[in-house]
């Protein structure tokens, strides 16, 4: 069964950070953007903003690195989820995940990551410009087309300043 994924459209993001607030509320019950598992990357110089979170990738590096099998696939959403009673807090998942989307929480000494809010992602609901969508995706990589354009613009700007 195909599960829905978060699809991010950076060109719609205005950098308002409501997704971070909504996410940290779900994750911690408080408004702490630093504890949000969706993070907006701000490129003010290019007026571009890119929310970024776990892709729920096929490789699931976190899941296989875990020495106590504390990460499982949620039966309803397909999200890779941390089982807090099983997690010992060793941080191996945080160094194994090359996407940088699973974290060790200094408050709980456990790992935490995006769990798709059980199928009702708060970030997507909070986004006022529909830059974060939750839908079935053929290809999960929404970063590349945006990154390629941003890189082109950065290179062009650097070229222009060199020429000046």
């Amino acid at each position: 069964m195909a599960h829905r994924s978060l699809r991010i459209v950076p060109d719609r993001c205005t950098g308002c950070m409501q997704c971070e607030l909504a996410c940290s509320w779900v994750q911690t019950g408080s408004f702490q953007p630093s504890r949000s598992v969706i993070r907006v990357h701000v490129f003010d110089e290019q007026a571009s903003y890119a929310p970024y979170t776990c892709f729920q990738c096929h490789e699931a590096w976190c899941m296989s690195a875990c020495p106590v099998n504390a990460i499982a696939i949620h039966p309803d959403t397909g999200a890779k989820v941390v089982l807090p009673e099983t997690c010992v807090g060793c941080s191996l998942c945080a160094i194994a995940c090359p996407f940088g989307t699973i974290f060790w929480d200094p408050a709980t000494h456990k790992a935490f990551k995006c769990h798709l809010c059980g199928g009702d992602p708060a970030c997507a609901k909070a986004c006022p410009t529909a830059a974060i969508l939750y839908e079935e995706l053929a290809a999960p990589d929404w970063v590349e087309p945006w990154a390629a354009k941003l890189t082109e613009r950065l290179a062009a700007a650097a070229g222009a300043s060199d020429a000046a």
Binding site: R12, A22, W25, V26, G29, S34, R39, H41, A50, Y52, F55, H58, E59, A60, M63, S64, A65, P67, V68, N69, A72, I73, H74, P75, E85, V88, G89, C90, S91, L92, A94, I95, A96, C97, P98, F99, G100, T101, I102, F103, W104, P106, H115, C117, G118, A122, K125, A126, T129, A130, L133, P140, D141, V143, E144, A147, L150, T151, L154, A155
Partner: protein, 482 residues
């Protein structure tokens, strides 16, 4: 006739190989030979600290093995391999036949060659039995413990004993602590952190004798000083268990040499995990990376190849993460950066905090990194994975390299803008999605469809978005994208 697989060693490399073989070959005959009952060495420190019960450390039980269709022979060692005859001799006197053999024999702690190293209350902390012996000596009291060796494993254990209030001293023969994980600058910050928490650090000195004095253990140092304690923990390093391979004519160096398919010099004989010396992702040279993530990757790749699915392994990445009494330390890849590189390393230091970050470059690629900072420092914790991703993909950052060199704290923007996720998403270790690990460890029968449904539902209780939500909204009109 089904292939007969024999796996020697029940650590993560052996277990992941077995799961991978079974996922690909329902007919295979699989036998595990292990001298210890399978458990997770990585979590012993949490057991020592009293944070988890003993039951939490085990990684297999009868129901698990039954589901994996694996015959388990524990309490038995393999004593000889006859590759030509396809047989492994066992310490119990019997032997077992194989078509494919995996050596996942792990590593063993090195015992310092000094008087008293075999005495009472002088322990390694490597096996579950070591942990149990140590807990018996500690007996829930705040004991004084002297560590010989200030490496990764020593500190994992030290951290556990610090949590239960022990009084600690560390002796390291090299001029700094964590010599194979941190450079001198980072090590000096970590040392200051330890000393600030009452932990005595002695570097550049050798323990020359472990004796007794008035009921204490007394560790005499080359400097002439003596450290007294209730218990001595030896953690000067580990050595790959290669004897079985060497005696059987399998090529070994520091570890058992394996190629990009984890095969040894003998066809149909594979090696994985701490005992194996395979390709290093950073250098391409054979290296022993005795860490859990490498054991898992080795085990999976070896298992796929053993099951007849040729799978090439790009190589393992040297990396460690360690909590040193509340100070998080991590290093990746070619972190040493000795200054000979054409592009100098980017470094941020804030000694008062303390905070340290170093990125080692090869042109516009990050090839190594060290991160150090207090555990509360979310910036550091947030960046660990992305640094690993940059080093693992070995991708050039192009025009984003300049900004990251100027500000190595700004890893996240460079990571995303250089399109790193796209380089990761289309690759998987075995060329297909990871199966849900329904077999692993648990004793519940797998649900139809395989997910650990009951366990997940029990532990994950999400209230649907607690904040005020506007409900699903219509997609806004597309903005114009240039």
């Amino acid at each position: 006739m089904p292939l007969r697989h024999v796996v020697i060693g029940g650590g993560p490399a052996g277990l992941f190989a077995i799961e991978t073989i079974r996922a690909r070959d329902p007919e295979a005959q699989i036998t595990l030979v292990s001298d210890e009952p399978p458990y997770s060495r990585m979590v012993l420190p949490y057991y020592i600290a009293g944070e988890i019960p003993e039951g939490h450390v085990y990684t297999g039980n009868p129901a698990y093995w039954e589901r994996l269709g694996t015959t388990v022979v524990t309490g038995t060692r393999a004593t000889a391999i006859e590759p030509d005859r396809g047989r492994v001799a066992l310490s119990a006197g019997a032997s077992v036949a194989f078509d494919r053999l995996l050596l996942a024999t792990g590593s063993s702690p090195v015992r310092p060659d000094i008087p008293g190293a075999t005495g009472e209350r002088v322990h390694h902390l490597w096996t579950l039995a070591d942990a149990q012996r140590t807990l018996a000596v500690i007996g829930g009291r705040k004991r004084r413990v002297v560590f010989i060796g200030a490496g990764f494993i020593g500190f994992i254990v030290l951290n556990a004993l610090a949590k239960i209030g022990c009084e600690l001293a560390v002796v390291e023969v090299e001029g700094q602590i964590l010599p194979r994980m941190l450079d001198a600058e980072a090590a000096s910050l970590a040392r200051g952190w330890l000393e600030g928490r009452g932990i005595a650090v002695h570097t550049g000195v050798r323990a020359v004798e472990i004796g007794e004095a008035g009921g204490d253990k007394a560790v005499r140092l080359s400097s002439g000083a003596t450290l007294r304690g209730d218990l001595v923990v030896m953690a000067i390093g580990v050595r790959p268990n290669v004897e079985l391979a060497t005696a059987s004519g399998i090529r070994t160096d520091h570890g058992i040499l394996v190629d990009h398919h984890l095969q040894t010099s003998v066809p149909h004989v594979y090696a994985a995990g701490d005992c194996a010396q395979g390709p290093d992702l950073s250098t391409g040279q054979p290296a022993v990376h005795a860490i859990q993530p490498t054991a898992v990757e080795h085990g999976r790749v070896a298992g796929a190849n053993m099951a007849g699915r040729p799978t090439r392994y790009a190589g393992s990445l040297a990396m460690n993460v360690l909590d040193v009494v509340g100070l998080q330390c991590a290093s990746f890849g070619l972190w040493r950066g000795d200054g000979s590189e054409a592009t100098p390393a980017s470094v941020v230091v804030h000694r008062g905090r303390p905070l340290y970050r170093k990125l080692v470059w090869d042109g516009d690629r990050v090839v190594g990194a060290i991160l150090l900072g207090p555990a509360e420092d979310v910036g550091l914790l947030n960046d660990l994975g992305m640094i690993k991703g940059l080093i693992q993909t070995q991708a050039g950052l192009g025009p984003w390299a300049k900004g990251l060199r100027a500000n190595p704290m700004d890893i996240r923007r460079a990571f995303v803008a250089a399109g790193t996720p796209g380089r990761l998403l289309d690759r998987t270790l075995l060329g297909r999605p990871l199966e849900n690990q329904r077999h692993r460890f648990g004793d519940r029968a797998p649900a139809r469809g395989g997910e650990r449904t009951a366990e997940v539902r029990e532990q994950i209780k999400l209230e649907p978005t607690r904040g005020k939500g506007g409900g699903p909204r219509e997609a806004a009109t597309d903005v114009v994208m240039d």
